[in-house]
């Protein structure tokens, strides 16, 4: 019993799906009502965010909202003082991924280096 697989030839149960493309990975799923998030990440190694102007972006069709480090409980995930390139500053949710990315690109704000 304990040695039913070790040292034996067997066909892994998921390999057929992997070689035919039928295996579903996380991003292969779509659910009704699913929305998409993108992050605004730091483009510089260190900065202090002094202002985020999201009014234009929040008015865009398909944009659902943003969260920042100032929202309760998010200080551990998002930051107003990014400490590396890619440090997440803000998350934005939208109806689809393209809208989310367009919205991120349109965000305006200011920071001190």
């Amino acid at each position: 019993m304990a040695w039913s697989l070790i040292g034996k030839d067997f066909v892994p149960p998921d390999i057929h799906g992997k070689v035919t493309g039928r295996a579903k990975y996380a991003e292969d799923f779509r659910a009704e009502g699913m929305v998409f998030a993108r992050l605004l990440t730091s483009s510089v190694p260190h900065a202090t965010i002094t202002n985020i102007d999201a009014a234009e972006v929040l008015a865009m069709d398909g944009v659902l909202g943003i969260i920042t480090a100032d929202d309760e409980g998010l200080g551990a995930l998002l930051t107003n003082e990014p400490k590396f390139v890619g440090d997440p500053i803000l998350a934005l949710a939208a109806r689809d991924e393209t809208t989310a990315q367009d919205a991120i690109d349109r965000l305006r704000g200011s920071r001190n280096r």
Binding site: V19, E27, F36, A91, E97, T98, N112
Partner: protein, 227 residues
């Protein structure tokens, strides 16, 4: 570093480009033989920086909404995918990987990096392995596109490369496997009896994070033998 995955539900962190401010880019161009591409990119970025007061967060790709209208208008195309003609509405800036995965439901084609580095999105366009993440759908009208879903026979018989992948336990996590298989299929069509080194070279555009390269090569050598 954050990974630029086209992940849903989970948050996808875009890979930010180092931000270049107006003074920076001019200084850069002035003192070095910056490439034309870099220069143009820099001008676009600095243009965006100048247009708003103070520092801005900076566009990610130089493709800010002012330069390129987001979205644009979808147009109805006929695509030849796996031998079938598929009618689909496509945005002007839509990549073939996006169309295949999210409009035609062919999720066997994977998006690993979405920037032509990893090869997970490889499909055949007129028999040539191509990165579908970096091919615009509008550019492949009238071309024959083959994805992993198009390899099996009419009764679900596996392609010899797929069978060899099972026999040799090619995949580990399996995420890069569809791309690996598409490249291997194209290789064996062009060169039915490659040496191991030739196969290794042909497969060099397909990365595998599990490091199953030797398993994939074993599979390809077996497929060449069996075919």
């Amino acid at each position: 570093m954050a990974e630029n995955q086209t992940t849903q539900m989970a948050v996808a962190a875009p890979f930010p480009e180092p931000r270049i401010d107006a003074g920076g880019i001019l200084a850069t161009v002035g003192r070095s033989k910056a490439s034309r591409r870099k220069f143009i990119k820099g001008v676009i970025v600095s243009g965006a920086a100048v247009s708003s007061a103070g520092y801005v967060f900076g566009g990610l790709s130089g493709c800010t909404p002012e330069q390129a209208a987001p979205g644009g208008v979808e147009r109805l195309l006929s695509l030849n995918v796996n031998g079938e003609t598929r009618r689909v509405d496509v945005l002007p800036n839509e990549t073939l990987a996006m169309t295949l995965r999210y409009k035609l439901g062919l999720t066997g084609t994977k998006l690993g990096c979405d920037r032509a580095e990893c090869g997970a999105c490889t499909v055949l366009i007129d028999g040539i392995p191509s990165y579908s993440c970096s091919t615009l759908t509008h550019a492949v009208r009238g071309r024959a596109i083959t994805t992993i879903e198009g390899l099996e026979g009419p009764n679900g018989e596996l392609h010899p490369v797929q069978q060899a992948m099972i026999d040799e336990l090619g995949p580990q996590c399996g995420f890069c496997t569809p791309g690996q298989i598409m490249t291997a299929v194209a290789l064996l069509r062009a060169n039915p009896n490659p040496t191991r080194d030739e196969a290794r070279f042909a497969m060099s555009g397909n990365l595998c994070r599990c490091g199953a390269y030797d398993h994939y090569l074993n599979s390809i050598m077996r497929a060449a033998q069996d075919a």
